[in-house]
Symmetry: C2
Subunit: 333 residues, 2 copies
Amino acid sequence: MSSIKPVEWLGDRLMIIDQTRLPQHEIYLELADVHQVAEAIKSLKVRGAPSIGVAAAYGIALGAQQIETQDLEEFRKAYKNVSAEIAATRPTARNLFMAVERMDDIVGRAPDVISAKDRLAAEAEKIHDAEIESTRLIAQNGAALIRDGDTILTHCNTGPLATTGSGTALGVIIEAFRQGKKIEVLATETRPLCQGARLTAWELRREHVPFRLITDSMAGHFMKGARVDMVVVGADRIARNGDTANKIGTYSIAVLAHENGIPFYIAAPSTTFDQRIATGDEIVIEERSPDEVTHLYGKRTAPEGIEVCNPAFDVTPANYITGFITENGILKS
Amino acid sequence: MSSIKPVEWLGDRLMIIDQTRLPQHEIYLELADVHQVAEAIKSLKVRGAPSIGVAAAYGIALGAQQIETQDLEEFRKAYKNVSAEIAATRPTARNLFMAVERMDDIVGRAPDVISAKDRLAAEAEKIHDAEIESTRLIAQNGAALIRDGDTILTHCNTGPLATTGSGTALGVIIEAFRQGKKIEVLATETRPLCQGARLTAWELRREHVPFRLITDSMAGHFMKGARVDMVVVGADRIARNGDTANKIGTYSIAVLAHENGIPFYIAAPSTTFDQRIATGDEIVIEERSPDEVTHLYGKRTAPEGIEVCNPAFDVTPANYITGFITENGILKS
C-alpha cells in the first residue's frame, strides 16, 4: 500500500491532500503562500492536531520565505503578521501553538534574514519528522494494549491524514492489526463533519482493517451490549491534570466507557500536552459555523433561520481516562 | 396556528403527511389500501410509536373494508393476511402491536362481515381518539415538572407528527411554553434519519418555542456544562420493570443525565407499556438499512462497500429513568 502524504513540503510551496473532498475525491492542492495555508487550516482541508501543527510550521516557513527584505528588523516585523495569521486559524489544537512558538523562537534568535529563512524551513521539517517518529512510537506502545479478538471503538479521525505520520489512536489500531491481531473496529461517523465516516473509513479500508461504521448515538448501545473491549481516541489539547480536549462527542463516549467498565485511552504525542494550563477549564473551545449542523455538501435539511450550537470540541475530565498512549510510553491518568 | 393532522381517516382511505419529505416539502398522501399503509409505516412516511399505532389500526380497517366476501370464515382468513401485513412492518413500537391485537380481537368477536368491517373502523377511530386524549393529558402532567427558566433537552421527534395528538415529550415542552413558562430547548438532530433536525425543529418553530439544534454528540457536553435542567424523551416500548426502548442514542443521553445529576423523564401513553415482557432484554431492536448511515440527507458520505450497524433503537435500563409521564400521572421508576 502506498502511504498517504497529507502534508508535503516542496521547498517553495506546500502540497496537501484536500481532506474535505475525501473519500469521493483524492485531490492534492499546492499552497503557494501563507494565506492559502491559513485558509486550508481554517476550512479543514488539512486537519487533525498533529497535521495542523506541521502545516502551520510549513505555512510560517513559506510566509517568511516570501518576505522581501534583507533588513532583520523589517523582516521580524513582517514575520509577526505571518505568524499571527497562522496562530489565528483555529483556537483549540495545542500542536498549532507549539509550532508557532517554536518558529517564533527561531526568528528571535536568528542573526540575519537569510539564516532566519533557512532555519525556519529546517525547523518546520524537524517538527514534521518529530511527529512522524512520535506517532510511530505511539502506534507501537498502544498496540501492546490491544489483545487478539478485541473490538475497539474510536471516534473522529486520527490516522495518517490527521498526523502526517502513523496516526495516534488509529495508528495504534492499525499497528495492532499489522502485528496479526484479529481485531475489529467500531468507527463513529463523527458529526457534524463526518471525519469518521469519510476519513477513518477510508483509511481503515486502505489498510484492510475490519470495521463497522456507526452513528455517534450508537456508541453507548454497543458498549452496554458488551461489544466493545477498549476505546481509544486522539486529543487536541491536554491540560496538566490530564483533562483532554478532543472532538465533540469524546466526553460522552468516555462517560459511557466508564459506566460500562471499558478502558478508555487517549493517544497523543507530547506536542499535544499543554504544560501551561492546569485544567481543562482553561481550554478554549472553537465554535464553528451553524451551516455544518444544518447542511452537508451544500444541502439543507433543518428548517431555515433556526438557532444552532456547534462546538467543535469538548473536554473529558481526567478521571474518565484510563491512560495516555504517548511516544514515551503509557501514562496513567 | 393550524394544527397538523399527520394521520386522517377519510372513510375509505387514509391521508397522511409524508414525514420523510419534511421540512422542505409539506406533502399529503392518500393511501388507498393496506399495502400502501404498510409501505408508509416501513418507510417512515408515518412514524412515532403512537402515530404508527393509529396508522396501523386504520390500515387494518381499510384492508378489511376491501375484502370482498360476505362469508365470515372467508373474511377472517383474508383478514389474517391484512393484520399480518401490518404487524410485519416494524418490530419495536409497542403501539403497533397493541393496535393489531385490538383489531384482531374485534374480528374474533364480530357476528358477521358487515358488522366486522364497521366495528374495525370504529375501533381504529377509538384508538386514534384515545391517543389524542392521552397525549393531551401527558402534556399537562409533564408541563407541571418544568420550571420557568428551564433548559430542556430532547431527542428524536415526539410532537404531533409522532403521536397524532399533542405529542409526548415534545407535547410536554410545548404545553409548558403555552403556559407562559420561559423555557429553552436543546434538540438533538437524531442521526441517522435526523428526525430532530427535520421534524422537531419544524414543530418547535411552528409553535415559536425557543430552541437550538445540536448534533447527538453534543448532548453530553451541554449536560456537563450545567446548561441542561431536564431531559424528556418519548418511548417505543416499556417493559414491566421500566426498561425503555426508544430511538437509538436515548441510552447514552440517560447515562449522561445520570452522571450529571439531571432528571431524565420518559413521556409515553399507556399504549406504549408492554405488560407481557419483564425486562428490556426481551425487546426486539429493529436493524435498518446501512444506507441510512452511509448517506446523510440523501448524499453518500462514507466510502462504498463498507460494513455498517444501524440499530434504530436502544434500551435504557429503568435505573437511569427519573419517572414516566403518562396520561395517568407521573410514575416513579
